[in-house]
Subunit: 79 residues, 2 copies
């Protein structure tokens, strides 16, 4: 199965990278852009064929390695 994990800073946490991108876009003339958030996406293949088991496995990976759950939240998609 294919797994896709999206990791973002939690809403209350200042996203400096997002602020920098927003300032750069404004500087280039796109003044209508707001609320920029930058996160990371991790995609990979799993040999597990059961979607529920795969999701549980990927969530465990997120908690242990892929996300810093103190300041980051994650979304898991299995396909």
């Amino acid at each position: 199965m294919k797994a896709k994990v999206q990791v973002f800073l939690k809403p209350g946490v200042l996203d400096v990278q997002g602020k920098a991108v927003e300032a750069a876009l404004h500087g280039l003339g796109w003044a209508d852009v707001s609320g920029v958030r930058v996160g990371r996406t991790i995609e990979f293949d799993l040999t597990e064929t059961d979607a529920a088991k795969a999701e549980a496995e990927v969530k465990a990976m997120c908690d242990k390695l892929l996300a810093n759950t103190v300041i980051e939240s994650y979304r898991v998609e299995i396909a």
Copy 2:
């Protein structure tokens, strides 16, 4: 409208961050993981209300700032 941009290294380009994550996951006991690719996601709000115009605008942003099109490809989602 909400825009979501996903930027990944092109298939032929070595993804060192992905390789590092893959090695770490194998080290933690998830041996069934393969083909890890790490990309970034940029989410933001646009005041533009026409989906086609918004998409064209976001693609221009990608070409100019958000992605390095020599080594990276991007996907745009407008919602």
